[in-house]
């Protein structure tokens, strides 16, 4: 079975600092997609960044970047120059075909002013 594990239930940093959220996963597939989703208090699920497993280059989206270690099955999210609006739950997700997603339990991130 495919699983996703986020080992940090909560994290807190000061505004403008850099923060890294951890995610490990398990899959027997050789080609797959990994995602980070943000869920603010509004409850909306917002795609932050995605990584295709066959691409060796780490994905980046403005202040968000990932460190994808395929052999270690690790997929961490780095947020640079954190902002108050980054406060949210962050979910790591693994795609298991037909865009069916397996989610981790989430990390609650708080950015303090």
């Amino acid at each position: 079975a495919q699983t996703v594990t986020q080992s940090q239930p909560e994290m807190s940093v000061q505004e403008a600092e850099t923060v890294t959220l951890s995610c490990t996963y398990d899959t027997s597939e050789s080609n797959y997609y990994l995602f980070w989703y943000k869920q603010p208090p509004s409850r909306q699920m917002i795609l932050v960044i995605r990584q295709e497993a066959y691409k060796q280059q780490n994905a980046t989206e403005n202040r968000f970047s990932v460190n994808f270690q395929k052999a270690a099955k690790s997929f961490s999210l780095k947020i640079s120059d954190s902002q108050l609006g980054d406060t949210a739950m962050y979910f790591c997700a693994l795609e298991q075909g037909a865009q069916k997603l397996v989610f981790g339990q989430g990390t609650r991130l708080t950015i303090n002013p």
């Binding site: 996703v4 909306q44 865009q99 069916k100 339990q105």
Partner: protein, 112 residues
């Protein structure tokens, strides 16, 4: 751009009652999904559909039914509601098997 629209946003059900959660998307996506999110947890897949007339079970399908008669609509039916079905329900859609999933704003359901 409406995207994925879910109704209702909130609902309280009594044990044993039934209801249908509505989901519609206006992006002409073939793939649609229903997830549930229990407090403090990630989302879990209930059912999904890869096109009109085709549905399949996800990880936690018991107590639910779905239908997909049109590309736009993917309703989720709860029969004989139980307290274990208290959760937030999300509908999502995707234009392909490798495309980004777009989520609705969720329905908070409480069964008492």
């Amino acid at each position: 751009n409406a995207g994925v629209t879910q109704t209702p946003k909130f609902r309280i059900l009594k044990i044993g009652q039934s209801m249908t959660l509505q989901c519609t998307q206006d992006m002409n996506h073939n793939y649609m999904y229903w997830y549930r999110q229990d407090p403090g947890m990630g989302l879990k897949l209930i059912y999904y559909s890869v096109g009109a007339g085709i549905t399949d079970k996800g990880e936690v399908p018991n107590g639910y039914n779905v239908s997909r008669s049109t590309t736009e609509d993917f309703p989720l039916r709860l029969e004989l509601a139980a307290p274990s079905q208290t959760s937030v329900y999300f509908c999502a859609s995707s234009y392909s098997s490798r495309g980004e999933a777009f989520f609705g704003q969720g329905t908070r359901l409480t069964v008492v």
